[in-house]
């Protein structure tokens, strides 16, 4: 290929507005930019002066795809600041609603955003003409996730039931039981999804990534655990900012997060899977073994299989939680706000989502920091693009363009999340 | 004179069982998340045993009574209207047929055969609520056109009235002549008595169905002193009532004060949220919604509760007859207390006080009437010519 430029002005099938620019000179890739032109929305700025209790609802508006992740990171950070620990059934309900979000978000990505790439369709609606049953299965699977969020959270997008300390109202056993049959179906459908995605065609593309995720001693991580990596990181969430920092690049309205010493890293399903394979439920582990995807998978295109396995796990876990559910007496733990700093990091469908809040005596937020998963993966996405384009430089331009788009979609990037802030020194801003 | 019977409280469950034997689905007061609502219950233990409610303008609270009374509360947030006149019903569904269309014969609630409707037995209907049902009878079931949804439900219902032995903070049924004791309109009526003599119910049967039911429940003929005990409780309740409304010439008062400045005053407080009309046991306004599927081949029409407080209520193409909240509040109150009398020969208000308790900002219909009277009485806003016209209309 001679001098050429791969340009995707408006990257489709991702959440938010992003672009790709790859410049090729001869046989060499000279420039790669994964640009984010989504306008900034200044969340950290206007969180100041708001009540601690508003953080879950306000930050959920950073992203309509993974509002639960924002709510969970926010409530955990607040509870950390006030020294509260939510346990028992309330804790389980939080896992349950997170299962719902994973099923919904993964279902959306697998069937509607990612699979069309593998099968050569522009979108799932076109794919529905060739594979009607598969698309319907995907929709139904996604719907099951939404149903969980709906019952526990009140609605699918920006649920209203999550609060610091627990929930406004806990579901009755009867309400949760309405989900059981759907989830049993969904678990089967997820297993089929694992088998189906494993049969897709994957480009040969493996990289030596540093995977970063939470790790919990007893469970596959949603809300709690230490931050670990495949290259030896093992820290308390509180230490996040000692190890990671954000950089501003000129071509993007989003900050890029990097490990202070080792640079770019990889968060999300693949990271969780590789670092927590042993914590998956038996049925999820078996399905992984069945399709030959084991711990240590380093081909990001195969994230579609891993998402399917996580979906299967989330269905299974949701069923476990519902089966043992007994409504707690009280829907939340009383919260007495106090001065302090709190940290929260949870596993959004796309990877770790970090919140840090500084709370004043009056319970008002003095300062907030939020690092969404897409900011963390952004640098790695550019890396992948560079590597992938370099090694596929002889592909026809159209094909290479599409494949590059697919490379980005491997990460299920959520651009709306990533642009919650821009590089501004808020400390100097009068509030 | 009707004979008074007596049931021991421990035998109340037999009443439930007998109703169930007769095929009734029982709806009664029960505690749900901090309030006493009317919902399906199975037995006497579902009743709010030992609970009461404290009500005042914009405030409601459940409290323990310190005894084991079954009906020691005042009034639920919602009336029985929900069951006889459901909030949403499908009127019909229809399908396109060529250029024409066909109404599906079994499509709507209106045409649900009466046999397949639930057989409701209402337990704990307060005298004011019985009055409200009578009023809705006049609204829905009293002329050439009737509301079949209401009529079919009403025909089947079994009413167990419970006379009031305490007055709620927003009750004024005495003023509206609708309580605290029901004289008719029920199948049986209970008065709950807890005293040194024990815990029992004085029962009056008000219909053949009621007599039939009583024949299945162990009872005795009530003694004179027991009847007197029950009567005394009801009388005390009437005296306890701390709210009242002077209904003398109330229609004339309101018609004469359609332009009172006081409506502007209420409008500064009124939220036009429509809560009062939703909780009112007699408010009957509805609207319809037409819907289609995406193909436009199948259509449905739904009827749902509406309120004269909504902006859409009096909207016609090109204008709105009542766009100010002043006019909307006036419409509601004047309709309820005045024009209702012209329309149906009865006041639309039963003095249950729900509109006072459940108004989020505590607007009190009895106080507003007083203020209108005060201001009107000064002659400042009172137009004597108008009262004359009113009287002419009466003759018409």
């Amino acid at each position: 290929m001679k001098n050429t430029t791969i340009k995707v002005d408006y990257l489709a099938r991702v959440e938010g507005e992003g672009s790709i620019l790859i410049k090729i000179k001869g046989n060499e890739v000279t420039d790669v930019k994964f640009g984010i032109f989504e306008p900034p929305r200044f969340f950290e700025a206007f969180l100041r002066g708001r009540k601690y209790s508003e953080a879950p609802d306000i930050t959920s508006r950073i992203c309509g795809i993974c509002p639960i992740a924002y709510q969970m990171s926010a409530v955990h950070a607040m509870e950390d600041a006030f020294g509260i620990k939510v346990t028992g059934q309330l804790r389980e309900l939080r896992r349950l609603i997170y299962c719902g979000e994973w099923i919904e978000s993964h279902g959306l990505h697998i069937y509607m955003l990612h699979a069309p790439d593998f099968l050569g369709f522009q979108d799932a609606l076109q794919m529905a003409k060739g594979y009607p049953d598969i698309v319907k299965r995907g929709l139904q699977l996604k719907k099951t996730g939404n149903d969980i969020v709906n019952v526990v959270g009140g609605r699918e997008i920006h649920p209203i039931n999550v609060r610091v300390g627990g929930f406004y109202r806990v579901p009755t056993k009867k309400e949760l039981n309405t989900l059981v049959d759907k989830l049993k179906w969904a678990r089967d459908a997820a297993l089929e999804t694992v088998r189906w995605t494993a049969k897709l065609n994957f480009p040969e593309f493996e990289q030596d990534y540093e995977f970063v995720s939470l790790r919990h001693p007893n469970e596959y991580p949603f809300n709690e655990g230490r931050l670990v990596s495949s290259k030896g990181l093992d820290i308390n969430v509180k230490e996040y900012e000692n190890h990671f920092e954000e950089e501003h690049v000129s071509h993007s309205n989003a900050l890029q997060s990097v490990h202070k010493e080792r640079g770019e890293y990889f968060a999300g399903p693949l990271a969780r899977f590789n670092l927590n394979f042993d914590k998956l439920s038996p049925i999820a582990q078996e399905s992984a073994k069945e399709v030959g995807v084991l711990k240590g998978v380093c081909n990001p295109f195969k994230s579609i299989i891993v998402r399917s396995i996580e979906t299967l796990y989330a269905c299974d876990e949701a069923l476990r939680i519902i089966n043992q559910y007994e409504p707690p007496e009280k829907s939340y733990i009383d919260v007495i706000p106090s001065k302090g700093i709190g940290f929260g990091c949870t596993e959004a469908p796309r990877g770790i989502l970090y919140h840090r809040y500084h709370i004043g005596d009056d319970g008002l937020i003095k300062d907030a920091k939020i690092v969404p998963p897409t900011s963390q993966n952004q640098r790695m996405i550019e890396n992948d693009l560079r590597t992938f384009a370099s090694s596929n430089i002889n592909l026809p331009k159209n094909e290479l363009t599409w494949k590059c788009e697919q490379t980005v979609r491997n990460y299920d990037p959520c651009i709306s999340c990533a642009t919650h802030l821009i590089k501004i020194d808020f400390e100097e801003t009068k509030i | 004179m009707k004979s008074h019977l007596k049931i021991e409280s421990r035998q109340l469950n037999i009443l439930f069982d007998s109703l169930k034997d007769l095929g009734y689905t029982i709806v009664g007061p029960t505690v749900r998340e901090g309030s006493i609502v009317y919902d399906n219950i199975d037995s006497a233990s579902g009743l709010p045993v030992g609970w009461t409610d404290e009500q005042s303008a914009a405030a409601y609270k459940l409290k323990r009574r310190g005894d084991n009374s079954y009906f020691g509360y005042n009034l639920s947030p919602y009336s029985w209207k929900r069951f006889l006149f459901p909030p949403r019903v499908k009127l019909f569904s229809a399908a396109k047929k060529g250029k024409s269309f066909k109404i599906n014969s079994d499509s709507g609630n209106a045409s649900v055969p009466i046999m397949s409707l639930p057989n409701y037995a209402f337990i704990g209907v307060r005298p004011c609520e019985i009055q409200a049902i009578k009023i809705q009878d006049k609204v829905f079931n009293n002329w050439q056109y009737i509301d079949t949804v209401y009529k079919n439900r009403k025909e089947k219902v079994f009413i167990v009235a419970v006379n009031c032995t305490q007055a709620g903070g927003t009750c004024f049924c005495v003023s509206m002549n609708s309580g605290p004791k029901a004289d008719n309109g029920f199948d049986i009526a209970l008065t709950e008595v807890i005293d040194k003599g024990g815990h029992y119910f004085i029962v009056e049967a008000g219909s053949e169905k009621g007599n039939e039911l009583m024949s299945k429940i162990p009872h005795t003929v009530a003694g004179q002193s027991e009847i007197e005990n029950a009567n005394r409780l009801v009388q005390t309740t009437a005296r306890q009532m701390n709210k009242s409304m002077d209904t003398k010439d109330i229609k004339e008062l309101l018609y004469a004060n359609l332009e009172s400045r006081h409506w502007d005053d209420v409008a500064t407080r009124c939220l036009t949220c429509a809560n009062c009309t939703m909780v009112c046991p007699t408010c009957f306004c509805t609207t319809v919604e037409d819907v289609t599927d995406l193909t436009g081949e199948n259509a449905e029409r739904w009827k749902r509760w509406d309120s004269c407080f909504t902006m859409d209520f009096a909207r016609v193409f090109g204008g709105n007859f009542r766009s100010s909240s002043r006019a909307r509040y006036r419409q509601w109150m004047t309709h309820k207390l005045a024009s209702w009398i012209d329309q149906f020969g009865t006041s639309g208000c039963v003095g249950c006080g729900r509109c006072i308790t459940w108004c989020p900002v505590g607007i009190d219909i009895t106080e507003e009437i007083e203020k209108i009277k005060e201001k009107g009485g000064k002659g400042e806003y009172f137009n004597h010519k108008d009262t004359k016209v009113t009287k002419e209309i009466k003759k018409d």
């Binding site: - | 009127l91 019909f92 229809a94 396109k96 250029k99 024409s100 269309f101 066909k102 109404i103 709507g108 209106a110 045409s111 609204v139 829905f140 002329w143 050439q144 056109y145 009737i146 079949t148 018609y255 359609l258 332009e259 009957f284 306004c285 509805t286 609207t287 319809v288 037409d290 819907v291 289609t292 436009g296 199948n298 259509a299 009827k303 509406d306 004269c308 209520f313 009096a314 909207r315 016609v316 193409f317 090109g318 007859f321 009542r322 766009s323 100010s324 002043r326 006019a327 419409q331 309709h335 005045a338 024009s339 009398i341 012209d342 108008d386 016209v389 009113t390 002419e392 209309i393 018409d396």
Partner: protein, 280 residues
């Protein structure tokens, strides 16, 4: 009188369009034949039907045809909202739904032996056309007839051919006035009440029937009263937001009256107290 009482009072019956007549640029008349043939359909001048556009909704439309003509039930419709827009696109052979007739009618019986003064504006002429037909069918029983009709412009006049025909009849005075026009219009210009200057009412023996926008009716009533027509001889037809048409939904109240069942036609004393007040 009404066949559809009770259960199906909320069910529209299919009615086929026999003919569409465009009266003006935005007003048209649908001639309908109910499914069961028109033979059962009796109505009094002034009554209305609820017309249903499949899946779209209903609109209360006065009947504008001759009550003695059972074949064609006419509705003259002003295209203003979504329902009437759908009606405006229909053709001969299309089917709409019909419930009715509802409401009371004009005092055609009471007016016998008297002069009749009809004052209308805009689409308000439509519900009064059946009155004129009734009178002309029994011409001897009535005295002089006055029709005072106001419209926006000469192009907005309804039933132009008939207006001309009626105007030529003996003892019938038709006076038309418009709000605005160019120089081709030789008729009157101004508000409808101006037309009273050009007629001589025997006020004691006249029944006045008014239908038009509420504000027009208000100033017409003032004018009639000033000229000495007693209120009980003045009738008006009210417009409200009618949903059910049968007095059950509460929407069309004006004071103590349900416009759909107590009206739409009222003798002035029944309603005047409320008509005078704002936003009743």
């Amino acid at each position: 009188m009404n066949s559809n009482v009770g259960i199906d009072s909320m069910f529209p019956l299919p009615a086929q369009i026999r003919k569409v007549v465009w009266e003006t640029e935005d007003t048209f008349t649908l001639l309908l034949e109910p499914d069961n043939g028109g033979s059962d359909f009796h109505f009094s001048p002034g009554q209305f039907n609820m017309l249903y556009a499949f899946g779209i909704g209903e609109s209360a439309i006065s009947i504008s045809s001759d009550p003695s003509n059972k074949d064609n039930i006419a509705h003259t419709i002003h295209r203003v909202g979504s329902v009437t827009s759908v009606f405006s696109q229909l053709e001969k052979g299309d089917v709409i739904g019909l419930r009715g007739p509802f409401g009371n009618g004009w005092p055609v019986e009471k007016a016998k032996g008297k002069d009749v003064c009809i004052v209308t504006g805009g689409i308000g002429l439509a519900p009064l056309r059946p009155v004129l037909y009734s009178i002309f069918n029994n011409r001897k029983e009535y005295g002089k007839i006055f029709l005072l009709y106001g419209a926006r412009s000469p192009l907005d006049l309804l039933y132009r051919v008939e207006l001309e025909k009626w105007g030529k009849m003996k003892d019938v005075t038709v006076q038309v006035i418009v709000d605005r026009c160019d120089t081709s219009w030789k008729g009157h210009i101004g508000v409808v009440t101006k037309l009273f200057s050009y007629i001589k009412l025997n006020t004691a023996n006249t029944i006045a029937m008014i239908c038009g926008p509420e504000i027009m009716m208000k100033f017409t009533i003032q004018e009639l009263s000033q000229r000495g027509v007693p209120p009980e001889q003045i009738y008006i037809s009210m417009e409200r937001n009618m949903k059910c048409g049968i007095g059950l939904c509460g929407h069309c109240q004006c004071g103590p009256k349900f416009v759909c069942k107590d009206g739409p036609v009222f003798a002035l004393p029944q309603i005047s107290q409320f008509l005078e007040k704002k936003e009743i």
